[in-house]
């Protein structure tokens, strides 16, 4: 939204003496963020109003050689002009050498100079509307009324003279504030300059003079005496709180001024364009008040409805009902759209755009001016359904207050200057002004301030609130404030207008109570440290949504995933069921990028439709750790074991895979039960889909479960003996089908037994060293261990050591049929 500071200053004279930067700072901190400040005086520097004294055609060209009067002491200036409408005697805008063409200001900054055209020197240029950045017209140069009036710096009204600064005459010594109006969505009143200015007054601590707003109401007798040519029927007051309109006979027609007007400039400052007299006036009033207006051709209106006097019916559309809009497009309405109809025949999509069938044109004699307010809920949907984002609907969707439809309508009638032949106002349930009871303690208590009653009262009254009482205040909101209902609404006004930044900061007073530590978060941090710092893995983040294709590629059931119905792309359609598939995609990308030996992991949430809902009826989400590494089962396993050991989980039993995740190679994958971990090599079939040619292994753990299975103390000092340890190497030859864990188990068990039997209280370690199998004979293998053991009671004697080794030998022979070699 673009706000002219000059307009604000007209409405709030107190703002004139304040530094612009200070004013912007105050607006930013007490109303809304100012995104940009545009200084128009710089943009229009070097533009002058001049009189074209002569304009001679240059033979064989479309150009004219002009002499212009710009009140220079050394006479007339020569300019070559290509516009068809240039002629002697006219007043035009001259951009002098050195001036930047306003259209290019702030972008390429095209600077004019003296240059030769067809052998003639041309000093600067005569400018068109588009070059002046005041319109889109490029058909000729801008023509200025030779009797154009303006108010000079002494407050006197003068007539323009050749050589006058264009910016001075057309009030372009102005600063435009571009404001971020997203945070004003609850403040429809500030979408008009009057409402914005009222806030500026409030911020400056002065009372806004409502007289400056020029809005008055029709007298009731006019309404009653003039309602014959038009009637209104609102089918449901929920969709249209109020509909007011006037029928105007345009006595002097709708011809437009050929000269540049102050209106054109006013609209351009707001980023709009002059179109025609009637459209310009409705736009002007919308910019001033926030109330959009619409004009219908009366005669077309009654003809469409097939009646003599206009009958306006406001109703919801039926699904599929068609309407051709002003922009030529025909839309199919839905049952949420509000239609303005002429005796039930659609003539406008309410709040959004008029229909082609009642459009104003040059032959229009009578117009219906509409000033109404519609349900913002419906209009918001209309906006989305039909993609209409006009200035009018932007304002309507904030919920324009119903009080101002009539005053704005009257202003429009006055400005258009036609003869009123009919007026109607349908307002079935007039809005009530909210009254809020509040105390100064309520206000100071929430803000943490110490404002007195007088300050509070004055601050609110400055912007139109009516207040009764002292300490116990009865606050009546002004009619344009549709957002004031509760105490907090009032507190916000006081805090904001007096400046939040004037509030002295404070701290809550609390007892010293330690914060609860979230166990899942702690586990996450611990895992990140182990994986990234000890296992040299890389933590990555991938999207929570995956494609159906990815799920199919890895063998997951897409139907078990929550599907995003409005996803950006098919890549992001389904809530993921596990982390590994996303990691496989990134593994592929990184392999492609030239990395070959790495591990990736991610800790994030997953869910499935088949999982439960929580007490709120929301799907339960589980936090999973997914880990993928370039390497085979054993490389992955080593990392997994180290990681779990770091968590204090030392007794791990790997058993055949339970097939919980579909993408593990069944013969090369395993399951650990406590905690539940699935791990293994990724199926060759799956890797093929990713075009990965090397072995990839992975594991996935549900941390929500793991956190419950962690031992109480994760770090335990290893037991140490003060007596010397014995080291022995041991190789067992067993049949190949005997599992490693059986052999290892037999050794551990016998050490345990020996420890108890002789009351030696042994501490021991059994460290696997190698597994050897002959290439020519795979029926058996040699498993070598390194044993370390010591007694906590004494130095072991040779006989004791032999006895222990014998126990091991016997146990291995007996339980796994192994032979010590």
């Amino acid at each position: 939204m673009k706000i002219s500071l000059n307009e604000i200053k007209k409405l709030v004279p107190e703002a004139v003496d304040i530094e612009v930067s200070e004013l912007i700072k105050l607006i930013g901190s007490r109303l809304v963020e100012v995104e940009e400040k545009i200084d128009l005086s710089k943009k229009y520097e070097g533009a002058y109003i001049v009189k074209v004294v002569s304009a001679e055609p240059i033979p064989d060209t479309h150009l004219h050689l002009c002499k212009i009067d710009c009140r220079k002491e050394d006479g007339l200036v020569q300019v070559v002009c290509g516009a068809p409408n240039v002629r002697a005697g006219m007043f035009a805008i001259w951009l002098a050498p050195g001036a930047v063409v306003p259209q290019t200001y702030g972008e390429e900054n095209f600077k004019l100079d003296v240059r030769k055209l067809r052998g003639y020197e041309s000093y600067g240029m005569l400018a068109g509307l588009d070059e002046m950045d005041l319109g889109d017209d490029h058909s000729g140069i801008v023509e200025i009324n030779p009797h154009q009036k303006y108010v000079n710096e002494n407050g006197e009204t003068c007539e323009v003279l050749p050589g006058d600064s264009f910016a001075k005459v057309f009030e372009l010594n102005d600063i435009i504030l571009d404001i971020e109006n997203k945070s004003l969505t609850h403040r429809p009143d500030t979408f008009g300059l009057i409402g914005f200015a009222r806030e500026v007054a409030g911020i400056l601590g002065v009372k806004f003079n409502e007289e400056n707003a020029h809005l008055a109401c029709f007298k009731n007798d006019i309404i009653n005496n003039n309602s014959e040519s038009i009637s209104i029927d609102i089918e449901d007051s929920d969709i249209c709180k109020r509909y007011s309109c006037a029928v105007l006979e345009m006595t002097d027609g709708l011809t437009d001024d050929k000269f540049l007007t102050e209106m054109d400039v006013f609209l351009a400052k707001a980023g709009m364009r002059g179109i025609s007299k009637i459209v310009d006036i409705t736009n002007y009033l919308m910019l001033m008040t926030g109330q959009p207006l619409h004009a219908f051709d009366y005669d077309k209106f009654v003809k469409v409805g097939g009646i003599d006097n206009a009958k306006i019916v406001v109703r919801l559309a039926t699904d599929g009902e068609e309407l051709q809009l002003l922009d030529g497009k025909t839309i199919k309405c839905n049952k949420n759209d509000i239609l303005i109809t002429s005796n039930n025949v659609p003539v406008a999509l309410a709040g959004a755009m008029g229909g082609a069938n009642t459009e104003i044109d040059v032959s229009t004699k009578r117009v219906i001016l509409e000033s109404a307010t519609f349900s913002l809920y419906n209009l918001r949907k209309t906006q989305m359904a039909h993609g209409i984002f006009s200035e009018a609907i932007t304002r309507f969707t904030k919920g324009q207050p119903a009080f101002q439809t009539m005053p704005v309508l009257e202003s429009a009638v006055n400005m258009l200057g036609g003869k009123v032949t009919g007026i109607a106002d349908c307002y079935p349930e007039p809005a009530k002004q909210d009254v809020v009871k509040i105390t100064t303690d309520d206000i100071n208590g929430l803000l943490g301030t110490n404002y007195d009653t007088e300050t509070i009262t004055r601050t609110l009254e400055n912007v139109g609130f009516e207040i009764e009482g002292n300490k116990e205040l009865v606050v009546k909101a002004p009619v344009w404030r549709t957002d004031i209902h509760i105490k907090e609404d009032i507190i916000e006004e006081v805090g904001r207008l007096l400046g939040y930044d004037n509030i002295l900061i404070d701290y809550p007073v609390r007892p010293f109570i330690g914060a609860e530590e979230d166990s899942l978060l702690q586990l996450k941090n611990k895992l990140e440290d182990v994986l990234s710092d000890k296992l040299a893995a890389h933590e990555i983040l991938t999207y929570s949504f995956v494609s159906r294709k990815l799920q199919e590629d890895v063998g997951e059931n897409p139907a078990d995933s929550y599907e995003i119905v409005n996803s950006i792309s098919p890549e992001l359609q389904r809530f993921r069921q596990s982390i590994i598939p996303s990691l496989l995609e990134k593994t592929r990308d990184n392999l492609k990028a030239g990395y070959h030996d790495f591990s990736l992991y991610e800790i994030n949430q997953v869910t499935k439709k088949s999982y439960n809902f929580d007490d709120d009826g929301v799907p339960v989400l589980y936090t999973h750790l997914g880990f993928v590494t370039t390497g085979d089962f054993y490389e992955m396993k080593a990392k997994l074991v180290l990681m779990l050991n770091e968590l204090g989980l030392r007794k791990l039993t790997f058993r055949a895979s339970d097939g919980h995740f579909p993408y593990f190679e069944p013969a090369h994958s395993a399951t650990v039960d406590t905690p539940h971990v699935c791990c293994g090599e990724i199926k060759a079939k799956v890797l093929k889909r990713f075009k990965i040619e090397q072995t990839i292994s992975a594991f996935e753990i549900d941390l929500s479960q793991l956190v419950k299975e962690l031992p109480d103390t994760s770090a335990k000092m290893p037991e140490l003996s003060k007596f010397p340890a014995v080291e022995r190497d041991l190789t067992v030859k067993v049949k190949s089908e005997i599992a490693f864990s059986k052999v290892e188990g037999a050794i551990l068990e016998s050490l345990e037994k020996a420890s108890n039997a002789e009351n030696l209280d042994l501490i021991f370690k059994v460290i696997p060293v190698s597994i050897y199998q002959k290439i020519t004979d795979d029926s058996s293998r040699n498993i070598s261990f390194h044993l370390e053991f010591s007694s906590q009671k004494k130095t072991l004697e040779n006989t004791e050591i032999s006895a222990i080794m014998k126990t091991i030998q016997e146990s291995v022979e007996k339980t796994v049929g192994g032979k010590i070699v």
Binding site: S29, R30, L31, V32, E33, T185, R380, M384, T397, L447, G448, I486, E488, I491, E492, G495, R496, Y500, D501, I505, D506, Y507, P508, R510, P511, F512, I513, G514, A515, E516, D518, L520, L521, E528, S532, A536, H538, E539, I540, L541, T542, Y543, S544, E563, I564, V565, S567, I568, F575, L583, K586, D589, A593, F598, S599, L600, Q605, T607, D616, P619
Partner: protein, 315 residues
């Protein structure tokens, strides 16, 4: 005799000189001492040099500026990395934790009630559209802000209020917006929400807590300022700006918009079963991605979810 031995001998001789000091006139003793000391320092330096020379000559020299010896492989250090977003989030949480805030993680799939209703968005209100939410066929919503967790946090810690304490909790989480991705926009990003409720909670306290957080985070005193904002779930609502910190090249001029905050709307408290006449609170929420981007001078948000080792190995 090696050079070293020679110097050692000289030193020994010099030490003998010291004994002569008692034969020197009192007033000249100082000057005599200084002279001897200087001489000794000189010899000691010579000795060091001689030792170094001998050691250097006894072993083959290597090129210490090279990454490896000739014909050797350049040593490769295998290292992992932490994701910068997760590292930063951890730091943020640790500060809040030290300030006494409990931590509760947000969930990545939620419903209309937590996303809007519990936060005082009227049904069908256009403000609901402003969040560009994703939706599942069942009507679940991947949350567009961590505020979805406010209601849960209020309910979960309500007992603390009833026991005469306060609700103090921060909620980190992954949030989603239906937005096209470019250098400055991501549909997936991280936020951290905060909720504080107590008996005499004020707007002034909110400013104090948040100022304190950013001062701890950037390790310096910082000026703050606000801009009025609008959120249906807080009133008054503001955007908090901090002075650009020195570590980010701030020179006391620029401002950075850090988060949205405000006093919790009475309807939000009421819906969680907390009496808004008795208790007041404040809440805030801000992005984590932006903190990281500012910290490292990153200009493309797409790196975060790229999974690219080229990017990650820098952290």
């Amino acid at each position: 005799m090696s050079n070293i031995e020679e110097i050692k001998k000289k030193l020994k001789a010099l030490n003998a000189e010291y004994a002569k000091i008692k034969n020197i006139a009192l007033e000249e003793r100082k000057a005599f001492g200084i002279k001897l000391n200087e001489k000794r320092s000189e010899l000691q330096r010579e000795l060091q040099e001689a030792i170094l020379t001998e050691e250097t000559e006894s072993i083959e020299k290597i090129d210490i500026t090279a990454p490896c010896a000739p014909n050797q492989k350049i040593p490769e250090i295998k290292r992992g990395s932490h994701h910068p977003l997760m590292m930063e989030l951890r730091r943020v949480l640790s500060i809040y934790s030290h300030m006494g805030f409990n931590i509760m993680e947000a969930q990545q799939l939620d419903d209309e009630f937590h996303m809007f209703e519990s936060l005082n968005f009227p049904e069908g209100h256009p403000a609901r559209d402003g969040y560009d939410t994703f939706r599942t066929a069942e009507g679940f919503i991947p949350p567009a802000h961590t505020s979805t967790m406010q209601h849960r946090a209020l309910k979960r810690y309500k007992k603390d209020l009833e026991n005469g304490g306060q609700i103090a909790v921060v909620i980190p989480g992954r949030v989603f917006r239906n937005e096209d991705v470019d250098a400055t926009h991501e549909h997936t990003f991280y936020q951290c929400e905060g909720v504080y409720v107590g008996k005499d909670t004020t707007f002034a306290q909110m400013l104090g807590v948040l100022k304190n957080f950013f001062e701890a985070y950037y390790g310096q005193n910082l000026n703050i300022k606000t801009q009025p904002g609008y959120f249906p779930f807080t009133e008054p609502s503001v955007e908090l700006l901090i002075e650009k910190p020195k570590t980010l090249g701030g020179k006391g001029d620029g401002w950075l918009e850090m988060l949205g905050c405000g006093m919790i709307h009475p309807n939000v408290l009421k819906m969680a079963g907390i009496n808004p006449e008795k208790y007041k609170g404040f809440a805030w929420g801000g992005g984590i991605d932006r903190l990281v981007m500012l910290k490292y001078g990153l200009n493309d948000v797409r790196y975060f979810e790229s999974g690219k080792l080229d990017f990650l190995k820098e952290f």
